[in-house]
């Protein structure tokens, strides 16, 4: 670098230009913060039962709460929502959101963990183009089958079942229903007892059944319809259709119609309607939809949960219930029903065991089949095709459910898009005017060298733009201010260097020799001063929330970039100028040294050696 500053300078310029071009060509740019593009931001903090703000919560609980809020927000479909945590404060930022009341309702509700028996597993709800296609197909099938408007496939099924029962005394109910709805594909998990001392046995059972459950899952993932005729063949020995439309229940078209109609008509229960006694329809993992019975118990029946590695290398989750009627007894009551496949918790698969849905914030996170009729409170294991992450996530959710934290909005803010845009424009306009003024001053004082200072600003700013673009960092108004403020710091590095150079030249050194020496001294100072700034920015970033953080981030980033830019740009650029013919005219560098300019030859470069050695 020292020997060939020109090369460094060209290198730096090329790197900066390349990065800029690539960034722009790939159409990346920094995101605008909420205050600039409009939207709603809410800061929430955990509160205790009395409604007082508390810090007595674990990181895990908070992270789980954030996860839940994120899911809710995603479900509403806000573009690029941001949910973050700092300390025990949760910040939710919803760009473009307008209705503050709605948002407060959305994020402020305490999520609850419930256990509800699974009544039915419905096919995934379809939307958009697929839905339109499905609707078209339904119309087509209805035409082919000659079904009049207002009569659904389910009506036909019911009629046929009733008539068949009457005529033949056959009980088709269970079989037909089971055949027509897809298998319990959500049945990834099962609930076993792991009695002390007989771990091996319990694990063995779990392992064996798991493979059965896995088969079910594989088969029903994509093409439910294709699988169904084969499954249903056994259920109907092709009895003559008795219904008024003459439709055979094993008609492939009818099965498809039934499937599609079920898919099109199933509707999720809104969260506010998910009351204790209601039957609810909620989504689960993998897109399935579950119809669930009334709440059997809440997460408060739980004491805790852990994930552990079973004997055969499969991950299991071990929930522990509280003792007493509110805890394990309540759980066993519902477990008994599911084990025996009672109507309140019907058997849905060939195992003839009912499933117990674990519902967190209106979403089924697991629905294990109950394989034991009575559990002791700390000897329960949920096994299934869990990866370690799955098991951990489930255990965390159960632990959270045991002690859900209530988050209460402490600060809420709506920024209108138009006002935000005005703020951004004001920041940018005033920033550029200020920059122009500062540049003007620099030119009047340092002449040619001002080019270096302004260039260094451009280099820092370009780096910052590139980094922000790739990090997807958000620019807030406070951030814009931070950038404008850091202009001073950036220019200062150059000024410290120029002054050091000037002093040397005024004291008899040549510009040529001075550029190197001055840089060594100046850079040591610049590093010290910038590190103090960085410490300040770091403290702010670490401790503060909201706009202060954005400000600290940009101040810190600019300070750091300034250190780099000074090294790879300011020095080489000054050296190139200093060693060129311009270096023989210190006046052009803002150094009022008349005699050198008058007689360039009077100061041979060897004089440096005399001055410095």
């Amino acid at each position: 670098m020292r020997k060939n500053p020109a090369r460094t300078l060209i290198g730096t310029t090329l790197v900066v230009l390349t990065l800029l071009v690539v960034t722009i060509a790939m159409d990346r740019d920094p995101q605008l913060g909420l205050d600039l593009q409009g939207g709603i931001s809410v800061n929430l903090q955990p509160v205790d039962d009395a409604g007082e703000v508390t810090t007595d919560v674990t990181t895990e609980q908070l992270d789980q709460a954030i996860e839940i809020i994120r899911r809710r927000v995603d479900a509403v479909g806000v573009a690029e929502p941001e949910v973050s945590r700092q300390g025990s404060t949760v910040t939710v930022q919803l760009p473009g959101a307008k209705d503050q009341q709605e948002v407060l309702e959305l994020v402020g509700r305490t999520a609850q963990l419930e256990f509800r028996p699974v009544l039915q597993i419905l096919p995934p709800i379809i939307t958009g183009e697929v839905r339109e296609e499905a609707e078209a197909r339904v119309a087509e099938l209805r035409g082919e089958l000659g079904l009049p408007d207002g009569v659904t496939a389910e009506d036909v099924l019911t009629e046929e079942q009733n008539l068949q029962t009457e005529a033949l005394g056959l009980d088709l109910d269970g079989g037909a229903l089971e055949g027509l709805v897809p298998g319990p594909s959500g049945d990834e998990a099962e609930l076993d007892m792991s009695p002390e001392g007989t771990d091996e046995e319990a694990a063995g059972i779990g392992g064996g059944r798991r493979s059965a459950a896995l088969r079910g899952q594989d088969a029903s993932d994509d093409d439910d319809a294709a699988q169904l005729p084969a499954e249903t063949d056994g259920a109907f020995e092709s009895p003559e259709p008795l219904n008024q439309f003459g439709i055979a229940l094993d008609d492939e078209r009818f099965i498809e119609l039934f499937q599609l109609e079920a898919q099109l008509t199933s509707e999720l229960t809104p969260l506010e309607d998910q009351t204790e006694d209601a039957e609810i329809v909620v989504p689960g993992e993998g897109g399935q939809v579950y119809r669930l019975g009334p709440r059997a118990l809440t997460g408060e029946a739980l004491e805790g949960a852990t994930a552990s590695l079973g004997e055969f290398g499969q991950w299991t989750v071990n929930p522990v219930f509280r003792p007493g009627p509110e805890g394990i007894d309540a759980f066993n009551a519902i477990a008994q029903q599911c084990y025996s496949g009672a109507p309140t918790c019907p058997a849905l698969s060939d195992t003839s065991r009912g499933l117990l849905g674990i519902v967190l914030d209106g979403e089924v996170i697991s629905a294990p089949s109950i394989n034991v009729d009575s559990f002791s409170r700390d000897q329960i294991q949920i096994s299934g095709s869990f990866t370690r992450e799955d098991a951990d996530a489930l255990a965390v959710a159960l632990r959270y459910g045991a002690l859900p934290i209530a988050l209460e909005a402490q600060q809420a803010e709506t920024v209108s898009a138009t006002l935000g845009a005005g703020a951004l424009r004001a920041g940018i306009i005033s920033g550029f005017i200020g920059l122009a003024l500062a540049a003007l001053y620099l030119f009047s004082y340092y002449r040619l060298l001002a080019l270096v200072a302004v260039g260094s600003l451009a280099v820092s700013a370009s780096f910052l733009w590139v980094i922000m673009s790739w990090l997807g960092a958000t620019v807030t108004l406070a951030g814009v201010v931070g950038i404008v403020v850091s202009v001073g710091v950036t220019v200062d590095s150059a000024v410290v260097y120029f002054e050091s150079l000037k002093e040397r030249v005024l004291n008899g050194s040549s510009v040529r020799a001075g550029v190197d020496r001055a840089f060594d001294v100046a850079y040591a100072t610049i590093v010290k001063a910038n590190i103090s700034s960085l410490i300040g920015a770091g403290v702010l970033y670490w401790l503060a929330v909201g706009p202060v953080r954005g400000f600290a981030f940009y101040l810190g980033a600019m300070t750091l970039l300034n250190l780099v830019a000074t090294y790879v740009f300011v020095y080489p650029a000054t050296a190139v100028i200093g060693r060129s013919r311009q270096g023989l005219h210190p006046r052009r560098l803002g150094i009022p040294l008349d005699e050198v300019a008058a007689s360039p030859g009077a100061r041979p470069t060897t004089a440096d050696m005399g001055a410095t050695s």
Binding site: D35, N43, K98, D99, A412, A438, A478, V484
Partner: protein, 382 residues
């Protein structure tokens, strides 16, 4: 030659030690006044610290009476403040702040205001701060401050020296007290943006002090060993050499901020920009001032008491020199004739005669005493 052109030629010789004796007194007075104002008047804190609501309604013809009617519906008109403003586009804006610190109620009022003004709910800006949130912000700010002082103090004590760290922090506290005092005296509202600015002031003030002190330390290393100069003399010399750097840096830093205040804050009516820039400008000016006139004299005071510098003074006195004359005189080879009675006369700016002496002084970079310049690695001698 004018002062500026003297300074441009590095021939300025401000008598810092004499000046700082006065400025220290002034500073102490101002700190006391600020402290008293802070205690008696307190700060005018925005809703962000005390809890409350603010609504911004961008609608022509929607005025105070309309807004009050809406607030009355929610029984929250008490203590509300109204401010009518016009944006750069000529749009009317009504800013309302009230004491509603219930988040849900704040949102409700916002919607009612939007309805009353014939706007969509999202067009009215609503900010509501719960009562405990403000306490939190305050606690965070104080926490940041303490950490800042501890970390920076440790860093400076390590990189410079403990006494300099102490003086630098004293200057920081000075700047902060005066800025906060300014806000207390004039009862300017303190917003979170102001707090950011206060914290930035700490950074600036320190940055400046570090640059000055680094130079001072350099000077002491180079000239201290000669035994010809008192600490104050070296300080005066180095401060003069960094003076133009301080001035230039301050000007280039203040210009963008000034533009932010005038263009962004006043012409384009952005309260955040205005809040920021006012505090920053005050802080910046204070920062430069305190590096030169608060931090440096404190260091000088502390250092002059060290046995080493007491010795130097005693020896110079024995040789018949006037140690209170801090002008820079080349003393490396021959003892300077003592009894410069004009010491106190050169308080302000040097005459041309003075300038000559100063101009002839060797650069700090060349070696005078037995202390060679630090060897540079990888430095190719050409």
């Amino acid at each position: 030659m004018s002062r500026f052109s003297n300074a441009y030629r590095n021939k300025n010789d401000v008598d810092f030690p004499t000046w700082s004796r006065r400025t220290l007194v002034v500073s102490l007075l101002l700190v006391a006044v600020s402290g008293i104002a802070l205690v008696t008047q307190g700060l005018s804190l925005s809703i962000d610290f005390e809890g409350g609501s603010a609504w911004t309604v961008p609608a022509d013809g929607f005025d105070r009476a309309d807004a009050e009617a809406v607030l009355d519906q929610f029984e929250s008109a008490e203590g509300a403040r109204f401010q009518q403003a016009t944006t750069a586009d000529g749009d009317q804006i009504l800013r309302i702040s009230g004491q509603v610190d219930d988040i849900a109620l704040g949102a409700e009022v916002g919607e009612a205001l939007a309805a009353a003004a014939g706007l969509e709910p999202g067009d009215v800006e609503v900010t509501t701060i719960g009562p405990s949130w403000g306490a939190d912000i305050t606690r965070q700010a104080l926490q940041s401050l303490i950490w800042f002082i501890v970390l920076i103090g440790a860093y400076l004590a390590w990189r410079l020296e403990p006494k300099m760290a102490l003086a630098a922090l004293a200057a920081v506290v000075h700047d902060l007290t005066l800025t906060v005092g300014f806000y207390a005296i004039f009862q300017i509202e303190v917003t979170p943006a102001t707090v950011i600015a206060f914290l930035t002031i700490l950074g600036y003030s320190l940055y400046d002090t570090v640059v000055v002190f680094d130079r001072l330390r350099d000077g002491v290393i180079r000239y201290g060993k000669t035994g010809h100069y008192t600490y104050s003399t070296i300080m005066r010399r180095t401060l003069n050499l960094t003076l133009m750097r301080c001035v230039n840096t301050s000007i280039t830093t203040i210009l963008p901020i000034l533009s932010m205040l005038v263009v962004g804050g006043l012409l384009l009516d952005q309260p955040l920009l205005r809040d920021f820039s006012v505090a920053l400008i005050i802080g910046l000016l204070l920062g430069v001032y305190s590096s030169l006139f608060v931090a440096s004299p404190i260091v000088a005071m502390l250092k002059e008491r060290e046995p080493r510098w007491v010795d130097v003074r005693d020896r110079l006195k024995q040789r018949g020199n006037d140690v209170s004359d801090t002008r820079w005189v080349e003393r490396s080879n021959t003892p300077v004739p003592g009894g410069t009675t004009a010491a106190m006369a050169s308080r302000v700016q040097p005459t041309d005669g003075d300038a000559q002496t100063v101009g002839d002084a060797p650069p700090l970079s060349t070696t005078i005493g037995g202390h060679p310049p630090r060897p540079r690695k990888r430095r190719a001698k050409r």
